[in-house]
Every structure is written in structure tokens, then in C-alpha cells.
Amino acid sequence: MAGGIKKFVVGCFDDEAVLFPAVKKVRRAGYKIHDVYTPFPVHGLDHAMGLRETSLHTAGFIYGITGTTTALSCIGWIFTKDWPLNIGGKPHFALPAWIPITFELTVLFAAVGMVLTFCYLCQLSPFIKKHHFHPRATDDLFVMAIECTDKTNDAEVQDFLQAAGAKEINVQHAETGWWLGRYDREQKLYRETEVGY
């Protein structure tokens, strides 16, 4: 468990319209948002939280071209060098016939690779118990977890969340990572000029 135990102040919101300004206020005050857990995907929340763009699609592209290369080199070697067959009088290097397989392998590599990468980035895996900050985060609450350092005064953070409109506030200790170090979300510092919600 590479991440270790950390302290979090957790605030629960029951309204999107309150959540967005609260996210802004928290970031402006300089607190570090660990994450916001929502029952459904909320448009623009990643932007409001100042999360950087995911690099999942770049990974997907690399997996895709790996699939393309694997398919072409594999079929190419088998049908021209290893075991040339006469299929309907076609040339051994029968590129058009290989395209469907190449396409399938590209898709397969990209899809499987991206799912696994996604699981790694989100620290998901079978038999790993993840800490739930609030069970209602899967139902009807927007749950914001603020990461505390040694210097954070958690009573102050609780008051701050109260003022920002949180319905339920508590302090929790939780494990933050489990594998090959932690995937820590990079966050941009808050700027007044930022566009968004």
C-alpha cells in the first residue's frame, strides 16, 4: 500500500447548482480537492475541478497502432515467408484480404488496452476494497473529499464547507493508493479568469 493513510474532510452536497460554486470556492481558498464522487457523470465538473485532460486516448492510439503492426507483421510473415499458400490464385502478399483482420486487431488492442489502463488510472481491480467516502455517492449525493496535510486545520475546513452549502460534513481516514505508487491527479491552481461553469 504505497499511498499510506491520509486524512480527508468530506462534504456532501445534494444539488449540482450548489456543488459547482462550492468547488470553485474550495479551490480558490487553496484547499486540495482529492476527488468529487457523483452518482452520474456531471458535464463540466472535471473542468471546474481543474483536472488535466486525460491521456487515456493517447494510450489508446498507441495500443491501436500496436495492434495494426502486430496484425500486419504477423500475417505478412506467415503468408509470405513461413507458410505460403495458394489461395484462389491470389498473390502471397494479399494485402486487401488482410485489412479486415488488421482492423479487428487494431480495435481489439485499443479496446482491451484502454480498459486495463482505465482500471489502473482509477485504481480499480478485483479483490481490492476501495474506500467509500459516502454510500449515497452512488445514489443522490455529490461527495467532495478534501485532502488534509499536517498543517490543515480540519475544523476550519469543515466550517468552510458548511458555508459553501454542504449538507453533511465529516472527517475520515483512508487509504489512497495500492499499486506501483499512486496515480495522483494533477491539478491546476485556481485562476479567476478561468472559463467554465
Binding site: 486516448h57 492510439f61 486487401p96 484480404a97
Partner: protein, 412 residues
Amino acid sequence: MSHSFELPGSYKKWTMGLIGVGVIALLYGFIMYHPLENGGHGAATTSTRFWAVLLQNSVFWLLVVNASMFFIGVTTLAMGGWQVALRRVPEAISSVVPVLGGIALLILMAIVWGGRDDVYPWVNKELVDHDKILLGKKGFLNPVFYSIFSVITIFLWWILGKKLRSLSLESDNAGHMDYETGDRWIKKNILYASLFIVVFGLSVGSTAPWLWIMSIDAHWYSTMFSWYTFASSFVSGMSLIALYIVFLKNRGQLEFVTEEHIHDIGKFMFAFSVFWTYLWFSQYMLIWYANLPEETGYYKIRVFGPYRGIFFLNLILNFVCPLLILMKKSVKRNYTMLTFMAVLIIFGHWIDFWQMVMPGTMKDKAHLMPFEFGIAALFIGIIMWRVGDYLSKHPLTAKNHPFLKESMIHHV
């Protein structure tokens, strides 16, 4: 809200310039290529060249501008809201359909009734009577059916497109719509959009490309040809819409169109480039695999004949470039890159149509010279002239459309 839009002088200059170049090319062709003389394969190909180039350009540009109305039709039927902020752009482009439709009809009728069997072999009665294959297709490939079908198709495109455009313009004066009025107005839109889509499916989706282009190679057929042509024209149509959106945004118009909308248009260009490739490849691979003599003739001249370079250029311009360049999100949101790609795609599909028409008509003597580009300039000029006219006469935002709010807050 600024709704009056004055065309910049440079736009008018370009329009007049392109039309001027086009008219000169047309006159040059008319005088030098003797279009009224009988053509013949291998012999007097200059007159064939004149008609083949006109056929290629009129059909291509007509299908491209008509793709705009298809875009309006499908987004209406899908109850799409995101496109409302930019809807007047495809409307303006589709307003060119009657003009280009009329020109295309004129050219098609001249070719068919002028007995130009160098373009359409099946217009030669004597030839058909001694040709077993053409005899079997006589019920479909004959001047009367061809003419009736072409006239009805273009007429329906025009009249249904006009209805959808006028519905949109009517809403400008209707004031803010309450729920009932808005509901009724949307349903009216859905009615005409569905009629248009049915007509579009039966024409561009099937018969029109068979008659107008595929029948040049009258012995050959491919059931995939119409979809392939449709994909070609739709991706060019989306590129044309993208060009006009960028043009208007750069002049401070279309205030509600954001990067998000541009991104979606870019996605269309990307996705349908791939779709075009899918159809291109499916058509090619089935014929390559089956290797039947009556089918491979179409590709023999293209892949192993004088069209080899164009054949592969086609694939590079319309598949490799859009795939690799348009893949990134930031490119689809960048005006300069999107403009570049739109021009590239339109040019690529113009080349695609060129290689559909030329091998069957000009055989191995085809040209890609100033005359060909001059005629293209004529059609581009006409499109710019009519679209510019529409844009400067009508408000650029459908301000009372019930879905406008949805479009304004569009976020991907």
C-alpha cells in the same frame, strides 16, 4: 444581437473571380473542344472531355450542397438540439440546390438526348440491341426513365428543402414560441424532414448515383456504389459547412456557435472520412476477392492503368490525411487546421468523382488540366454567390427555435 451581415468585399471579389475564370473555361471549352460534334472513344475525345467534366462537376457539387439539407433532415429527425446555433449555415448552402439542380439537369439532358454514347453507352439504341447485358438493363437504363427520374428527384429536393428553409425563416417573425406552438412547429419540421429523408434515401442512397455516374460503365455494377457516393458527398458537405462556419465566426457572426459546435462538425468530417473508406474498401475488396471478369474491369483501368496515381492519391487524401490529422481533439477545435482539412477533403472527393467519371468516358486520355479546374471554379463561384446572397439576406441565428438554449449550452 447583430443579425445583419454584410458580405466582405474580398468575398465578392473571390466569387466574381471564380465565376469569371469558370465562364472563360466554359467558353474556351465550347469553342476549342467542339462539344456539339460526335465524340467517340479514342477518336475525337475533346468533345467527350467537355461533357465528362461538366457531368462530373455538376453532379458532385449538386450532391455536396444537397448534403446540407440531409444534415438538417437527420438532425431534425433525431431531435438534435446542438446544431440549432449553426443551422442557418447548412440552410444557406442548401439554398443552392435549385440553381445547381437546374444546371445539372440541363447538362444531363443534353448528354442523354444529345445521344452522347461516349458518356452513356446505353443511349445508343443500336448498341443496346446488340448487347446482351445492356438489353437486360434496358428497362432501367433508357433516356425516358433517366429523364423522368432526374427531374422528379431534383424537383423534390428543391421543393422539400425550400419548405424546411421557409419553416425556419417563418420562426424568426413568430416571436417566442410557447410549448404548444413550439411543439406544433417541431412536428411540422419533422414531417417535412422525414419526407426529405425518404426522397434522399431513394435518390442519393440508391438510384441517382446508379443512373448519373455508375451507368457510364454500363456493363459494370456495384450495389455499394450509391452509399459510396453518398459518403463522398456527405463528408464534403460537412467540410463545406465547416468552411462557412469558420468564415462567419472570423467575421464575428454566429455568436452562439462555440468551439464545442466546431468540434462536433470536425467529428463528422473525421467519422465520415472513415465511413467513406469503409465503403471504398468493401467495394474494392469484394471485387478483388471474387475476381469476376465483369466486375474487375472497373478497377483494372484504375489500379493498373493510367489512373494508378490518382487511385492511390484518392486514398491518401480522403483516408490517411483525415484519419491522422483530424484524430486529435485540438485539431478539430482549431480554425486554421479545420479549414485546411475541409479544403483538402473537398478537393479529395472532387478527385474521387473525377476518377469515377473519367475512365469510363475518356479511357486512357483523361486530363486534369486548367480546363477541369476552371469548370470546378465555375461551380464553386456559383455556390459562393448563392450562399453569400442567402447569408446576407437572412438572420444568421434562428433566434426563436425551441432548441436554441440547448444549442447555446452545448458541451461535449
